[in-house]
Amino acid sequence: MGKYVLRRLLIAIPSLIGISIVLFTVVALAPGDPFEELATNPNIPAEVRANLRLKFGLDDPVAVRYVRWFTSMLQGDWGFSFVSRVDVDTLILQRIPVTLLVIGSSQLLALLIALPVGVYAATRPYSVFDQIANTLAFIGFSLPTFFTGILLILVFSIWLDWLPFVYRADIASTGWRWVWDHFKQAIMPVAVLGLAQGGSWTRYVRAAVLDVIRLDYVTTARSKGLSERVVVVKHVVRNALIPVATLVFLQMPAIFGGAIITEQIFRVPGIGSLLISAILANDTPVIIAVTFVLSCLVVLCNFTADVIYGWLDPRISYR
């Protein structure tokens, strides 16, 4: 086990370096210029732009820039944004709480829907409940978030005027009022993301439970005279949830990555909106840092999922 973990960790290093090279080159080769707004302003002399490019080292060859970035990254220096001239790690840390709150609770909501509905539907396949749950699940994950988001805004903010549609990370009120305000503004983005994710997870949970529920040991458990509740909860769900747990775990990086479109619609200041505005402004250090952090998380979560899988299902051995 220890050997296996060590080997997996060692394999992760070259793949991370590979990822960073690919990311850096692609971003560096992409067209555009962080000082584009300066370029269209006739009052700013061209030398100012040239000077800035020189100062930020944009005129060096890609390989030189990569080595410089990589060595300072190793020392914990993530560079600074060309646009705001703020350190990239500060920018990312500022966005993490909101991202975790909004995306995290939407994933939680998705789980809260997917688990009971999926399991219940699987125990009564092709019943009315199953049919309805299936239909709703399909609707949930086939509607794009940019559509449901705007639809919710139209209904709840504009027609009914119940909920605000501009998300503000710092709200001036205090105490319970503060909690309520946060809750109110988070309802729509969390619902949009949670329902879409919940839809696809419901389908997945249902399928996983259906696979298990037909197995012989479940029939054995039933013939022992155990109550249906105990059979489902203790024998079926436990085994069925092993693949589901892995799936949920692999979803973790997405929580940090934010949800670009939904964040844009509701003006949620999360990582996703940081990334998209950095991309639009050609702010390379921020783009690279955010995407690189995400790739690290993907690699890490994959690895952890593998380890956890073995722990959940002892039949899997490490070699």
């Binding site: 067209p31 006739p42 005027d161």
Partner: protein, 596 residues
């Protein structure tokens, strides 16, 4: 309009036969900015207009929060690093310049005690120096007094190339000296008719010396105050998250009585323009939203909500079409669109004239931009109020056909005109943007009727407007026959703006396409007039020359102006906010208040 007419107009203002405002309007009609017009009056000895304030609040504070929505959030709060207007606006909450421009082009003193003029001795008669007297009761947000040292320092800071300030253009050529603790003199390198540039408006915000002193030049990025501004403005800094939120609270020591009105201010960033308009005009969640690049049809519909309206202020933005004078399709000495080549068909003045007749500006205004784009013939400025007088633009397909026919361009079997085997086929490029693609379609349709074949092309804005040397689709390369975009005249003085048709500004491979003459048009008269205007001491003569330059550029058809684009903001019906097209939206934030 020539020099004499201009002089007689100024005399009329002096003799009070003509109001200042009317003078500004008339001069604007021939292409000068409002600030430029008022500067003419200043030089001619007409006193500054006393800025009338409509501010009605009678005590400081008590107005609750002011909520602004900027769909592109401010990313930094140092005005001298401001990449775009969003950053200038974010900084303007906290920092102030010596003087600012109101919507009629008057110079309004902010940190200055008075606007310099000939009468008060602020302006030297030779046009080589300006004396600014500063207000004495001003304190920085941290309690330190504001003095001439801060002004002097701001100049040192911005003019140092190592600081890499984007405002450096206004400071690098001037010298500033301190006369006493509250007076500074700006020494101009040559007689400068338009002197109100350094320390004025968007690029003139003054920084506190005591906080930035240690962070000049190379260390400029490390200043903690870049993110935590300490200014003199009506609101004090509380919190900033780049790209998301700027927050401030009332400055109880503000240097003007009864101001500001609001207890706190927040500027939320992100999202898109349409939903920002909604949040102000339909749900009333916010008080003000900036830069409404929204179709007028939608604005009109949202205004029916009754909570807010669109505020439309004239400024210097012109959506225009450029015609290439060089050949973009063949390489000459390894360079496309080389200044040494000539466009095979577009170089014929008849073709240019025909194209000018084929741009249906009125239709573009009526069907696409509405109130947010006014048809224009001038390249320099806003002629809105004078459209009836100056209707020199016309849309006439028959006349275009006739012009082409007379010049020998005959229709072929495919309906496309040709001469000497060269067909009238053009590629027309612009950035990807709804209204622009619609405009392209209108032009293409009209051209088809005149036997000109237009192939439209749209490039992603981030590529089109970049200075990427390796990309062939940037607007400065103009490897295309025709292109269209909006140019912004952020500076009231046209000198820098108008150098874009001079022959020494050609955009070429040699200067990495950084030259400003993108159409590579060459006119000896233009060059000569421009050189003369540069050295002209008499502001009236100089102004007349710029009007001539505007005419030459339009007559040469180097550019075909399409619509003038005013600045559009969404504003709550209760909010009173004096706006100006010649400065930031927040230029007079101190006077914003809400009616009961």
């Amino acid at each position: 309009m020539n020099e004499n007419e201009l002089r007689s107009l100024i005399d009329a203002v002096k003799a009070r036969r003509l109001t200042r405002r009317r003078f500004v309007q008339i001069v604007a009609g021939v292409g000068l900015t409002a600030p430029m017009a008022t500067q003419l009056l200043t030089w001619s000895g007409v006193a500054h207009a006393q800025a009338k304030s409509d501010y009605k609040a009678t005590k400081r504070g008590g107005g609750g929060p002011l909520k602004l929505l900027w769909w592109q959030g401010a990313t930094l709060l140092n005005p001298h690093f401001a990449v775009g207007t969003k950053d200038q606006e974010g900084s303007r909450i906290f920092y102030e310049p010596l003087g600012a421009w109101d919507t009629d082009g008057n110079l309004v003193p902010i940190l200055a005690a008075e606007a310099p003029s000939l009468q008060n001795g602020g302006l030297a008669a030779d046009g080589k120096s300006v004396i600014w007297k500063l207000k004495k009761n001003v304190r920085w947000h941290d309690g330190k007094p504001f003095t001439a040292d801060d002004v002097l320092f701001t100049w040192e800071y911005a003019s140092d190339p190592a600081t890499a300030a984007v405002t450096t253009g206004s400071y690098k050529d001037v010298k500033v000296e301190k006369i006493d603790s509250h007076t500074v003199r700006v020494l101009l390198p040559k007689p400068t008719p338009f002197w109100a540039d350094a320390f004025v408006g968007t690029r003139g915000m003054i920084l506190p010396k005591h906080l930035f002193d240690a962070f000049k030049g190379d260390k400029s990025r490390d200043a903690p105050t870049n993110l935590k501004p300490v200014g003199t403005g009506p609101y004090k800094f509380t919190d900033f998250k780049p790209g998301d939120m700027v927050r401030g609270q009332i400055n109880m020591d503000y240097h003007e009585p009864n101001r500001p009105f609001f207890d706190s201010i927040e500027m939320k960033g992100g999202g898109d323009a349409v939903s920002a308009a909604r949040a102000v005009m339909q749900t009333g969640e916010f008080d003000y939203a900036w830069n409404m690049q929204v179709e007028d049809e939608i604005l009109l519909r949202l205004e029916k909500g009754g909570k807010g309206r669109a505020s439309i202020v004239p400024g210097g933005n012109i959506e225009h079409i450029q015609l290439n004078t060089t050949d973009p399709w063949t390489e000459v000495e390894g360079e496309r669109a080389s200044a040494k080549s000539r466009h095979p068909t577009l170089s014929d003045p008849a073709v240019r004239d025909a194209l000018n007749l084929l741009v249906d500006r009125q239709a573009v205004q009526d069907h696409i931009y509405g109130r947010t784009g006014i048809a224009t013939r001038n390249f320099l400025n806003n002629p809105e109020r004078f459209r009836s007088k100056n209707v020199k633009f016309e849309f006439n397909v028959d006349k275009a056909n006739q012009v082409l026919e007379t010049a020998g361009w005959k229709k072929g079997a495919d309906g496309i005109r040709a001469k000497d085997g060269k067909k009238l086929k053009f590629v027309f490029q612009t950035s990807i943007n709804g209204p622009r693609q619609k405009t392209q379609a209108i032009v293409k349709q009209a051209c088809q009727k005149a036997g000109i074949d237009i192939e439209v092309k749209a490039v992603t804005a981030s590529v089109y407007f970049s200075s990427d040397v390796a990309n062939p689709d940037t607007y400065t390369k103009f490897f295309c026959d025709i292109q269209m975009y909006t140019t912004t005249m952020t500076q009231p003085d046209p000198e820098l703006f108008m150098d874009q048709f001079t022959s020494w500004q050609f955009s070429t491979k040699e200067n990495k396409w950084q030259g400003r003459n993108i159409t590579r048009v060459r006119s000896d008269e233009y060059d000569k007039t421009y050189r003369a205007a540069e050295g002209e001491l008499d502001p009236v003569k100089r102004a007349a020359m710029f009007m001539r330059l505007n005419d030459i550029a339009v007559e040469l058809r180097a550019v075909i102006p399409v619509v003038f684009r005013p600045r559009v903001a969404a504003i709550s019906n209760k909010l009173r906010a004096p706006l100006s097209g010649w400065d930031n939206d927040l230029w007079l934030l101190k006077d914003w208040y809400r009616e009961a």
